[in-house]
Amino acid sequence: MTGQIELGLLVAQVQKSFGSHKALKGVDLEVREGEFFTLLGPSGCGKTTLLRIIAGLELPDSGHVFLGGQDITRLPASKRQVNTVFQSYALFPHLNIFENVAFGLKARQIGPAEVRRRVADKLEMLSLDDLGKRYPHQLSGGQKQRVALARALVNEPEVLLLDEPMSALDAHLRAQVQEELRRLQRELKQTFILVTHDQDEAMVVSDRIAVMRDGLIEQVGEAREVYSRPRNQFVAEFLGAANIIQARRDGGQMVTSLGAFDLTAAPAWETGHLAIRPESIQLGEPPADDRNWVRAQVCEAIYRGQSLDVWLSPGFGQDNCRVRVRTNAKNHLRPGDQVSIFFPPEDLVALDHQSDAR
């Protein structure tokens, strides 16, 4: 583990303020060598500032950045083995595509033969071979994005930084590019750090995700872990829909307004909140032992193609439609239907409200 970290990227207690606004409030982060790491958070959470500090485009007020065991905090961007794909792509408008991609190599005085070989190699890898002589304004958004990627990757950086590189693409192209990026990273085995506010994108591409809020990291983990075991309400709600249920601990059970629930692991707190994903709640017939089963009435059923989203009112009556269940689209449910729903103990997550309240 320590060996991996020495080769990777380490961010220690990094703080940064812009005027009176504290963009980063002491961020700690470890990115392992060769992993696809994502900084995920709403706009203004400091993720782009953190990326710029790693790139060397911004100096932290305090704290350190280590790359491969070496302190690079004060090293200028031009001296770091780190390259960036900018949100705007920032291609050089006065240079053609070949020269754009060759820029970093030429700036380091690499011989023309090697420049030609390496640029051609990257252009081919990103299916840009025919566009070498074109200028950026002649390219489509998707092509520009690939040029930006080639221009960064050709330098074989120790870390590739991607600042919301897909935000300018339309939804269809974005999904395609996400998978391409994932495949590319697997092939190259280079360290990628992506900044995004799109949780789907983060889950599609990442080995690990760091969820950020207000200049701090809320949770770091694999996509599956962060999604299914969110640490607090912010993480639970930022990564998709979640049912948040107020609860009180009573012995081994959690007492809620829906009834008493068993959990696989009891929380440390006396009163707090539980979270469960809409797709984790199951519809069915309760067995004899009906622990974690709740009777409910359908308020509204929304057909979404791949799923059916149902708003349920626990107990009876329609005035309390606050449980959201995502079920198979083949189910036919109508408002007023009576159903039984099961809250699997392993899918109920006790949230850490102290970390929410900071």
Partner: protein, 265 residues
């Protein structure tokens, strides 16, 4: 709405006629085969031929071009440097506003005020060095003072249109200092710098007031020559000369405009 449209067009055309009628008249009389009077006596190039044989005019033309080329070169370098410094250095916000006003001020200051200030300054400096005797040097210095602001304004608008990302991308790709400037900043600014230089050149070529106050007996420029000959009576050679100056100005203005639009994306 529809009723008004022809009216708007008519007003526009009338305004343009009003603007260009005097210039057009000069151009017509420059090819009129009559020394005196306003009657059309047939087409001729002879005033242009006589113009080319008039040594005083040729000397004035050489002076004008010399002053314009030297002052434009100096003002372009200084104005570009000023624009870069204003844009790239992290000035405190209040100071930025003050500096902005200082750059704009010479553009709106009446020429006559500038001219009087220059005369005073040169007469003070003359006490220290002879080069401030009125002549080509003072003429060039005078032109540079008003040209700098124009160059700075044009280059700055180009700088503002360039995204800062480009600069950062270059630094991220291992470019520093002179390399960054030579390979990225300068080529991207070039159209703005060229447009600023064209504008400065045009202003220098056409300037009368400041030239009138800062020139010496052996540094007469075309506008000053035209002014002094008109006082002796208008001759067709002057019409021809004015037409040529006007044409040169038109060409320069069109070039400057083309360049500033060039690769705006």
């Amino acid at each position: 709405m529809n009723v008004r449209r022809p009216l708007v067009a008519a007003v526009a055309i009338l305004s343009l006629v009003f603007l260009y009628l005097p210039s057009l008249a000069v151009a017509v009389f420059s090819v009129n085969n009559a020394r005196y009077g306003l009657l059309w006596k047939g087409f001729t190039w002879k005033w242009y031929q006589q113009l080319c044989q008039n040594e005083a005019i040729l000397e004035a033309a050489v002076n004008s071009l010399l002053v314009a080329v030297i002052s434009t070169a100096a003002a372009t370098v200084l104005g570009t440097a000023l624009a870069l410094a204003l844009d790239r250095f992290p000035w405190p916000r209040r100071l930025t506003q003050a500096l902005d006003i200082l750059v704009h001020l010479p553009v709106v200051t009446p020429d006559i005020i500038m001219a009087a200030a220059l005369v005073l300054t040169f007469s003070l400096l003359r006490g220290f060095a002879d080069i401030f005797d009125l002549g080509l040097t003072t003429l060039v210095l005078g032109h540079i003072t008003f040209q700098i602001s124009f160059v700075t304004l044009v280059v700055r608008s180009r700088l503002a249109a360039l995204s800062r990302d480009i600069d950062e991308a270059a630094r991220d790709l291992y470019a520093t200092g002179p390399y960054l400037f030579r390979r990225v900043t300068l080529p991207l600014l070039a159209p703005g710098i060229m447009a600023g230089a064209m504008l400065a050149f045009t202003l220098s070529l056409d300037d009368f007031i400041i030239s009138f106050f800062t020139h010496g007996p052996d540094s007469v420029t075309l506008p000053i020559y035209i002014y002094s000959s008109v006082r002796r009576g208008i001759s067709p050679e002057i019409h021809a000369l004015s037409t040529l100056v006007l044409l040169a100005t038109v060409v320069l203005v069109i070039l400057a405009e083309r360049l500033s639009r060039f690769r705006a994306d």
